[in-house]
């Protein structure tokens, strides 16, 4: 279980994962050695998994982002596995989630422009196996994006 000190360190680290250890320790009001010990334990326990770089796809020329909400034909026994394996090989897909609810699978898809999206949608998405229904939500603007946890 996490205690208040763990939470404080993780909160600070979440707000800036690249900050040097001495700065982090100073902000947390702890010695660098203590912070190191805490971080090592959090890694060992599988709480802290690491960090990843956030890619800004717009800078790379991908101006379209679409959220595809897919309902699968559940009468087919392996519908989930087969759909997901096929969707993984679509290069425009950057995220994939499965759900309990009206939607079975959601794909996050990026494209350079609308003709590019149309081509991917027709040739690579609609040809995926076991789709019963598909709905698209096109992103107009990202108002908030902060995957930090409210620790």
């Amino acid at each position: 279980m996490l205690d208040d000190i763990d939470r404080r360190i993780l909160r600070l680290l979440q707000s800036d994962p690249t900050q040097p250890l001495p700065d982090l320790a100073a902000l947390a009001g702890l010695t660098p050695a203590r912070v190191t010990r805490r971080l090592d334990r959090l890694r060992q326990d599988g709480v802290l998994l690491g960090q990843r770089a956030i890619i800004d796809w717009r800078v790379l020329g991908y101006t379209i982002e679409v959220s595809l909400r897919v309902t699968l034909d559940k009468t087919v026994p392996r519908a989930f596995d087969e759909f997901m394996a096929a969707a993984r090989s679509v290069r425009a897909v950057i995220e994939m989630q499965t759900f309990l609810g009206r939607v079975d699978v959601r794909l996050s898809l990026i494209a350079r422009d609308l003709p590019d999206y149309q081509r991917i949608y027709r040739d690579e998405i609609l040809t995926l196996p076991h789709i019963a229904d598909i709905e698209a939500l096109m992103t107009v603007a990202q108002v908030k994006h902060d995957e930090s946890l409210p620790l």
């Binding site: 998994l49 960090q51 990843r52 890619i55 796809w57 989630q97 908030k144 994006h145 930090s148």
Partner: protein
């Protein structure tokens, strides 16, 4: 911005795991440490790498439930989108707010400690937002990130 194959490989690597040192990254890609550093620096300066995200096991830190919400506004035109956006963005459990076109007006990603906690967030914070109408909830079961067209 023009990227070559090595830039793509570098982005693929750091998008999955940015914990590696430039020396480790360089070794994997057959680059010297200074060359790796220069390339990463260039990608950061150009804004291709927009930042870093700490990866935590949400369940182990007490957030066992993630829900995606589709929100339809009830009284479009009469309420201000800015008011809705400001209020929804201020909810700490809301990680993502996207203005979308389609069946819903907004797409939200919400974390909660458990289903009871989610119900509290939904009833007290989300359903009371200005102008909120129909809300659809889907509980996240699994998630994977892919390197996309890199």
């Amino acid at each position: 911005m023009n990227l070559d194959d090595i830039d793509h490989a570098l982005l693929r690597a750091v998008a999955l795991n940015a914990d590696q040192s430039t020396t480790q990254l360089g070794q994997k890609l057959g680059l010297s440490q200074p060359a790796t550093w220069r390339r990463l620096r260039r990608l950061q300066d150009a804004g291709v790498i927009a930042g870093r995200q700490l990866m935590l096991d949400a369940e182990k830190v007490g957030f066992g439930v993630t829900v995606f919400l589709g929100v339809k506004l009830a009284t479009k035109g009469r309420i201000s989108l800015e008011d809705f956006e400001r209020a929804v963005s201020a909810i700490p459990e809301v990680q993502l707010v996207e203005h979308v076109l389609g069946l819903y007006d907004y797409r939200l990603r919400v974390v909660a400690r458990d289903l009871a906690d989610f119900e509290r967030v939904l009833r007290r914070r989300v359903m009371t937002l200005p102008g909120v109408g129909n809300v659809e909830a889907n509980v996240l079961l699994s998630e994977e990130r892919l390197s996309g067209p890199l």
